[in-house]
Symmetry: C2
Subunit: 219 residues, 2 copies
C-alpha cells in the first residue's frame, strides 16, 4: 500500500523536491501541485504536523485548524487566480458563470475542500479550478469525487461524523449521474461525452493568451 503514503515525503522533506512541484512550504504546511491534477490548476495543502496529518479530513479540520490554515487557503486561491488569469483570457459568456471580478472568479471557479474518503493517508486539502479539463481526468470516479457530496467543501468543515465509506464509494461515486459543472447537462454514465463537452465548455469560456499559445492544451 505504499502508494497511499506517496504524500509523506512532501511533509517530511519539502526542500528535497523540484520547485515546479512544491510551490510553497514553511513549518506549518507544504503546498504542491497534485501529481495527477484533475483540473487546469490543482493544488494540495499538506499540513506538516505529525498528528494532524494522520487525522481524517472531514473531522480533523476543526474550527481551530481552519483558522490556522485559512491563510494558506487564501494563498492558494490567489496563486491560482494570478496564474490562471495570466495564462487565459476570460471570454464573455451567456451563462450564469460570472467571473468578471477576482472575488467572483474565486467564488465561482475555485473549489476548496476535502474528500470524504481519502485514498492518500496524509491529510490534504484540495484547491482547484472548476474546469476538470485535464488529461488526468479519465473516469467517472475522478469526476464525481469533486462533483458530488463525496467532496466536502471548506466552508462545510468540520463534519461531526465520518461519511460512510461504502455509501460514498459504491453509491455516490458509482451511481451518481455525470452532471456538467458548467451547465448542469446530464450525461448519465457517458463519461466520454462529458469529457468532450468539458473541453467545449472550457474553450467557450477561456482563451489562451498569445504569449502562451505555444503551450499545448490539456485536451
Amino acid at each position: 500500500m505504499s502508494w497511499s503514503q506517496s504524500l509523506s515525503p512532501y511533509i517530511l522533506h519539502p526542500d528535497q523536491h523540484e520547485k515546479d512541484l512544491v510551490v510553497y512550504y514553511d513549518d506549518i504546511v507544504t503546498i504542491i501541485h497534485d501529481g495527477f491534477g484533475k483540473s487546469t490548476y490543482h493544488l494540495l495543502i499538506l499540513p506538516r504536523d505529525s498528528k494532524l496529518t494522520k487525522k481524517h479530513p472531514t473531522t480533523g479540520v476543526t474550527a481551530h485548524i481552519k483558522n490556522l490554515l485559512q491563510t494558506y487557503v487564501d494563498w492558494c486561491t490567489n496563486y491560482i487566480y494570478d496564474h490562471f488569469t495570466g495564462r487565459y483570457e476570460i471570454l464573455p459568456s451567456n451563462d450564469n458563470l460570472s467571473m468578471s471580478s477576482k472575488e467572483d472568479f474565486i467564488e465561482q471557479f475555485i473549489l476548496v475542500g476535502v474528500h470524504s474518503v481519502p485514498s492518500m493517508n496524509n491529510l490534504h486539502i484540495h484547491v482547484l479550478t472548476r474546469d476538470f479539463h485535464s488529461l488526468k481526468l479519465k473516469n467517472k470516479k475522478h469526476y464525481n469525487s469533486f462533483n458530488t457530496k463525496f467532496f466536502v467543501q471548506w466552508d462545510q468543515l468540520p463534519l461531526h461524523f465520518k461519511p460512510d465509506k461504502h455509501e460514498m464509494e459504491n453509491v455516490i461515486i458509482k451511481k451518481s449521474d455525470l452532471i456538467c459543472c458548467y451547465c448542469n447537462k446530464n450525461f448519465s454514465n457517458k463519461f466520454s461525452q462529458l469529457k468532450k463537452h468539458l473541453g467545449e465548455e472550457f474553450d467557450s469560456h477561456f482563451k489562451l493568451n498569445s504569449s502562451d499559445a505555444n503551450v499545448s492544451d490539456n485536451t
Copy 2:
C-alpha cells in the same frame, strides 16, 4: 429487425445459395452450416413449412413434427460423424469421454436441440459437435446458450410451456458460471480462460489428419 429474418432466404430459395453453405434441401427442410458456427461442425435444420417456421421451437416441435424431422436429424448426425472423423483422428483419452464407436460419438459428442429464446425468427434446430472450438465463439452468451438449460435437447421436446424470456436472458445466460463441457471445470465468468482451455481439450482429444494438415485450425 431484418437481421432476425436472415434465415428466411434459405427456406424460400434454398437453390440460390452456395453449395458450401446449403448442405441439403428438399420440400420439407433446408439444412445449412450456421453462418457463425460455434463448434467445429454446426448445422441448422430449417423446416420450410410456412406455418411451422413461425412457431416457437420449444412448443412447435411436437411429437408429430419430431417424427417427421427425425430422419433429417439422423442425416445431420451422420454427416457430422463422417466429416469430423474424416478430418480428425480421435485420440485415446483418460477421461470419461468414450468415442470409440459411432454410436458413442453421436451420443456423447453431438448436440441436437433448440434455443429456449431464439433470436432468429425462423424455427431452426441446432446440430453441432460439442467442442465449442470456433473463432466465432466470442462471449459467455455464445457458450451458455448451448451449455445451460437455455438449450433444450431434442429428446426433451416438446415442452408444454415457453420458457420465461427474462429468466433465460438475464439469469441463466448471464449469471450461470462457465463450466467446461469436457471436464466440468468451473471458470466462473472467465471467458478467455475457458476459451483457452477448450482449445487444449480439443487438442488432447483430436488430431488433424495429415491430409488436412494444411488447413488452419480454429484457435
